[in-house]
Amino acid sequence: MDAFLSALEGTAVAQALRVSRWGYAAVNGAHVFGIALLVGAMVPLNLRAFGAWQSIPRQVLLRVLVPVAAVGLALAVVAGLLLFSVRAREYAGIGFLQMKLALVAAGTLSALALHRAHGFLLETASDRRLVRHAVISMVCWPGALICGRLIAFAGD
């Protein structure tokens, strides 16, 4: 594990980011933008599952917000990996980061399982199944955001 983390820190892109002012700022911004898209899409989608906006067909919301969330997740993961690579060995030991990664993994796997079983627009999912997933989603995504932010405040 330590060898892998060291190798990550030694990559050309990690070395460049470590000393670059605007490159690092841009990746940082991209990470936040990805999180904004992801959480911004998932919260209304989950609220719909909890019973909000009943007059809006679920499929309509899904068609818009699922791709937005997926793109946001991909952007946040790629940018996040780049930020991590700058100080991989140090960051790997941070409790809130480990917690955040567990939440991201749980949220991603749970979403993949749901869509795999019930399709892109979740046509065959029962309301109960959707509510159950929305609970997991509301724990995972806002939880990951909070854990991520806490790294800067509660470390050490």
Binding site: Y24, E90, I94, R132, V135, D156
Partner: protein, 122 residues
């Protein structure tokens, strides 16, 4: 499935611990007035997002937060200036928590060379 996932998360949370030397944004965590430290650099970890020096000051080890690369460079510091074994004088604000041996550096001296990281601060 839900219950199992929550159990896994709880287990991760219990295993998780802090204990890593992270840098800080801003000045909200410092006392608001400067102190001076003179010591020898034990380790230097420079680069984004924060540069941190471990400095031995009279038998105590302080964490001194210096700038990001662009700030250090703007102050005139070169690669290798902040290295292990170098004697350094630091002016900056210490942590408001007196148990924490940590300071955010405003300017520093290597010999009689002055390097100002935050020109707008006293």
């Amino acid at each position: 499935m839900t219950r199992r996932m929550l159990a896994v998360l709880l287990a991760v949370a219990l295993v998780c611990q802090g204990g890593v030397a992270l840098g800080h944004h801003g000045w909200s965590w410092t006392t608001g007035s400067n102190i001076e430290l003179v010591g020898v650099i034990k380790t230097a970890r420079l680069g984004n997002p924060h540069g941190i020096l471990e400095v031995e000051v009279g038998g105590e080890v302080w964490s001194a937060e210096v700038g990001q690369p662009w700030r250090n460079e703007r102050a005139g510091l070169k690669d290798g200036d902040l290295a292990e074994g170098v004697e350094i004088r630091l002016i900056g604000e210490p942590s408001a928590d007196p148990n924490e041996k940590r300071m955010k550096v405003e300017r520093l001296y290597l010999g009689d060379r002055e390097f100002i990281l935050y020109p707008d601060r006293d």
